[in-house]
């Protein structure tokens, strides 16, 4: 119907200068923004394999940062999804001790079957996530504040209830061989099984973000919440689902730590909160939402874990550790950002041809 208008090449088009064909082929190489994160990660890896010696690159050395990365990564993934959707979840910080105390009290203190403890811990995670989600959508209070409130509330509940129920802030847990094998063991004596859980969750979350409709909704909500709602996305349900997944994953980490370390403690902490946000942001997710990738989050998690653990393999005085971590973080992110901007500016070659 309209073909005539299209088929007729614009009169002046041929008069245009041809597009520069001198563009280096690096343009297409760095097309994917994750290449930046990858290069950042490789940079710190190289740094520590130089200063950390052979041990750092040995299986044991790799296990050291991979184990840390796996636990952080399991939490960072749903936190990253939330951030892409424009939300934050601080309550993971107390979800971890809450779930490990839950399983320890149920299966340790009260000697119930371990599966009861596991289900209760995970159920708690889902419940807290649900409450977070409902509060966020009902009250319209920013999720930073809502989950801050649940962070405090849950920490208080955990401390108070633990003392009432078990009389102590630290409870031992003996779990059977199956639970140990599945959730709290070392493979080859070095690699935590959580590593495999992490890989599984990476695949699931990667699938969701890249290949499912749900993933598209998450990206759209973070990009423009109003337009997303106008486009018919059930934003409320997506929000609740995301908070439930971050609650679940944090509960999973707390529970598997309790099984792995045979004990649980009520320590209120902010380190997982901060570290998960850091890993996600290093991985290139926008703090304001709307952009991010699973590969980036994984690379950010690895970068942060390598920097954090690698320092122990160098001969540097521990007093200067923080300084080195700070400088390396900045360097990694800088590299990361430089390449991301390059990737977003350089469109693939084919595009420039048509102009």
């Amino acid at each position: 119907m309209t073909s005539q208008a299209h088929d007729q090449p614009a009169v002046v088009a041929t008069a245009l200068p041809a597009p520069h064909s001198s563009m280096p082929s690096i343009g297409s190489l760095v097309r994917r923004p994750e290449v930046g994160s990858l290069i950042g990660m490789i940079a710190v890896l190289v740094f520590f394999s130089i200063f950390g010696g052979a041990n750092f690159m040995s299986a044991g050395g790799a296990a050291s940062w991979l184990n840390v990365a796996s636990e952080l990564g399991i939490i960072a993934l749903p936190v990253g999804l939330l951030m892409i959707a424009g939300h934050l979840d601080l309550s993971v910080g107390s979800m971890i001790p809450a779930s490990s105390m839950t399983i320890a009290i149920i299966s340790g203190h009260y000697d119930q079957p371990i599966i009861v403890g596991i289900l209760a811990a995970l159920g708690l995670g889902l419940a807290v996530g649900f409450i977070n989600g409902v509060l966020v959508i009902r009250t319209k209070v920013p999720s930073f504040v809502v989950t801050l409130a649940t962070l405090f509330a849950l920490a208080g509940l955990t401390l108070g209830l633990s003392i009432i129920l078990s009389g102590s802030t630290s409870v031992a847990l003996k779990s059977g061989p199956i639970a140990k094998l599945v959730l709290g063991d070392y493979l080859g004596g070095k690699f935590q099984v959580t590593l495999f859980w992490w890989i599984a969750i990476v695949l699931i979350v990667g699938f969701i973000l890249n290949f499912s409709r749900f993933g598209n909704w998450i990206l759209a909500m973070g990009g423009d919440a109003v337009s997303a709602r106008n486009a018919g996305i059930p934003t409320d349900r997506v929000t609740i689902a995301l908070f439930m997944s971050s609650g679940l994953c944090a509960a999973f980490v707390g529970m598997s730590q309790a099984i792995l370390y045979n004990s649980a403690q009520v320590a209120a902490g902010q380190s997982f909160i901060f570290n998960s946000i850091i890993a996600v942001v290093i991985g290139g997710v926008l703090l304001t939402g709307g952009y991010g990738s699973v590969v980036g989050i994984v690379l950010g998690t690895l970068t942060f874990s390598i920097v954090n653990q690698g320092i122990f393999y160098t001969g540097f005085d521990a007093n200067w550790a923080s300084l080195i971590i700070g400088v390396l973080l900045l360097a990694a992110v800088l590299m990361n950002n430089t390449f991301r901007t390059m990737a977003l500016t350089y469109a693939p070659r084919t595009k420039s041809r048509v102009r």
């Binding site: 296990a63 050291s64 004990s263 403690q265 320590a267 380190s271």
Partner: protein
């Protein structure tokens, strides 16, 4: 291992923790000898105490993966850390438990020795001192509630003072106050104002004692509420000297690091093994009687 000297790994607290920086200083000082024989001493500490047991277990494994000649470590959370320590022993690496766990832990794990004291015993010592000086109602200010070692300190105080007919309650502060001296001071002030039968107060760290001193002054209860602290710093010692603080419980952290590393250094290099087991560094009480001697060491960062 003798050819290229001893590679000793020390697992400890945060490097910027006032208590652990003294342990580290001791370990570093002992390490100078190790370095003379071509060895090294490496300090591994967590970035925070949020997830202490698991983090420390990871540090033990990190040390083990670097093919160490010997390892020093505290048994803070036995359930979480014992497996890792057992791997150390199974790998044939000499191990010394220090700071917490006691000789029991050393025996259970197959470690060579134990250096240090116990939090609970330190608490008992403090409680007994309070009791013998007439305190009946002591507040134990815990800025890290939920963490085992601080809970043990307060528990020791309570148990010991109960023997002399007094009582002790704990004041757990929320994490939003941690590291903020004013928030700690004002919380303590509220607590001492609320309960007018309080006559003793102890903090779990030297920094908190500075806040507590402030709180007591503000509440105008300097005559009534006697202040004490676990660990100590220059400012606290000055207060003991001035008479505004009753005592500090000293675990001699410097010695914990120094002795543990020295023992292992001698063992790895020369096969020396001290027959004394355990090697106890505390608890010691610093009060007006011995404060002057202590101050010199504190100024050098060793006490």
């Amino acid at each position: 291992a003798m050819a290229d000297g001893a590679k000793i790994f020390v697992i400890g607290g945060k490097a910027d923790d006032p208590f652990w920086s003294k342990v580290k200083k001791g370990a570093d000082d002992a390490g100078k000898v190790t370095e003379l024989t071509g060895g090294s001493v490496t300090w591994l500490g967590p970035q925070n105490y949020d997830n202490l047991g698991p983090d420390a277990a990871k540090l033990i494994r990190t040390a083990l993966s670097q093919k160490p000649s010997a390892i020093v470590g505290p048994d803070w959370v036995p359930e979480a850390m014992d497996d890792a320590f057992k791997e150390v022993v199974a790998a044939g690496v000499p191990l010394i438990i220090y700071n917490s766990g006691g000789m029991d832990a050393a025996k259970r794990l197959g470690a060579m020795n134990y250096v240090g004291n116990e939090e609970y015993a330190a608490g008992l010592g403090g409680g007994a001192y309070f009791g013998s000086h007439g305190a009946k109602n002591v507040l134990c200010v815990n800025t890290l509630p939920g963490s085992t070692n601080t809970e043990d300190r307060c528990k020791g105080i309570a148990d010991a003072i109960a023997k002399s007919g007094g009582k002790s309650t704990q004041l757990p502060l929320p994490s939003s106050s941690f590291g903020n001296p004013t928030a700690v001071a004002e919380a303590i002030k509220a607590a001492v104002l609320k309960d007018n039968t309080l006559d003793g107060l102890i903090t779990i760290s030297a920094g908190d004692a500075n806040s507590a001193a402030n709180a007591i002054t503000q509440a105008n209860l300097g005559d009534k509420v006697k202040l004490a602290s676990f660990d100590m710093d220059e400012t606290g010692l000055q207060r003991i000297k001035d008479g505004t603080q009753m005592f500090s419980i000293d675990q001699q952290p410097y010695l914990q690091g120094y002795l543990a590393v020295s023992l292992l250094n001698g063992f790895v290099n020369y096969g020396l093994d001290l027959p004394t087991k355990p090697v106890l560094t505390g608890p010691g009480i610093v009060d007006a009687a011995n404060v002057d001697a202590t101050m010199g060491g504190a100024a050098a960062g060793a006490r």
